[in-house]
Amino acid sequence: MTTRLDLKAYDIGTEITWCAGCGDFAILRGLKLALAELGIAPHEVLTVSGIGCGSKLPDYINTNGYMTIHGRPLAIATGAKLANPDLHVLVVDGDGDAYGIGGNHFIHTARRNPDITHIVENNQIYGLTKGQYSPTSEPGFVTTTSPDGAIEAAVNPPAIALTMGATFIGRAFSGEPKHMAQVIAAGIQHRGYSLIDVLQPCVTLNKVNTYDWYRSRLYHLEEDSSYDPSDRVAAWEKANEWGDKIPVGIIYRKDGVAPYEDHVPALRGGNPVSRLAEGKLPTVDELDALKAQFT
């Protein structure tokens, strides 16, 4: 039986520098709620991020953390998962990091299917660099780098993930923290790559996709009893629904697919990190010698 943990277990006390009202606060809280609900202790989690406002998150949560270079958290996370398959590996990054700079990693991680939970803070703008249009900005979106409006079509993350063979695709809204936490928890429980695209208002720089804008458009897939998230064709329709109506919830899931690490021959002997702990840990001198090779 799972023992629910106290949310305080994930508090770290670092000063948070997000703008007041930023959707990232709710995502941070939603992630803590999901981990607490699932009874996953901080030391059992690795949170990996890239660059951007939302990518500051590992600094604000008491788990193992790794902030890597722009667009590369999925690659780092895959490596970490292979090194220690027992770890719950989460990636938290923004739409620019995930779908722009890291777009190639997104595609290949979806088809590779490692057991990684990928939470994308999708605010449709580059916030940290003060407001340039992002891969998910809609055509016509005016920013400092698109003064006449964005020209190209927006990336459709759920549709790309579905096309590339992702086994779990969810979407949530940061204005509904409880529902978002449930979708994140379902993603963490899923064995395989799970994409959770969180629609998150940038209250400072995106005055189009506001809380109000989303509230008038969102509906919950769970409220439609006829919707079956294991139906790939139905999921494709939902993944492409955007505009006057936007679905949130679990868009697609395919359970029972062995994740990437189950197929890696080098892991058949067990968890490499656990094996190290069984008396094969390097000594301090050995580690110093190793470090010396890089100085």
Binding site: C22, F25, E176, V203
Partner: protein, 143 residues
């Protein structure tokens, strides 16, 4: 109090240059309040307000999200703040506006709360206050 008087009161409390600004602030704060009000309480409170404001307070979800906290509340309020023309007083790694936006958003809530309190009876104020996220309760009390 009618709609015009309500927004005039918000404009006066906030020393806002235009009534349009006061309307935008009123809308954003009341929409945030609508997210935390259960349907029945919203109905009682709307009955005491001008019809235009009742539309702002009408709940759009079946029940309030219990995890709706101060930051999500502020998110709605921040929608009425124009960041583009404001000076960037950020330092070091601080985000644009992060250093002063909470104060500005808090004040905006209090202007609307001040006008709201003048329309409601004390019992209704208590009900409304009880529904607000913990930290926001204090702003309501001080308004």
């Amino acid at each position: 109090m009618d709609y015009l008087q309500f927004t005039n009161e918000v404009q006066r409390l906030g020393r806002l240059a235009t009534r349009e600004e006061a309307e935008a602030v009123t809308y954003s704060v009341l929409r945030a309040v609508s997210e935390v009000l259960p349907m029945a309480d919203a109905r009682d409170i709307c009955a005491c307000l001008p019809a235009e404001l009742s539309g702002f307070l009408e709940p759009r979800c079946t029940e309030p999200d219990p995890e709706f906290d101060i930051n999500t509340f502020l998110g709605w309020t921040m929608g009425s703040i124009d960041a583009v023309m404001l000076p960037d007083r950020s330092i070091g790694g601080m985000d644009l506006m992060a250093s002063y936006a909470p104060d500005e958003a808090t004040r905006r809530c209090q202007w609307v709360f001040g006008a709201l309190k003048s329309c409601l009876e004390s019992g209704q104020c208590d009900v409304l206050s009880e529904c607000l996220p913990d930290d926001v309760k204090g702003w309501f009390a001080e308004a």
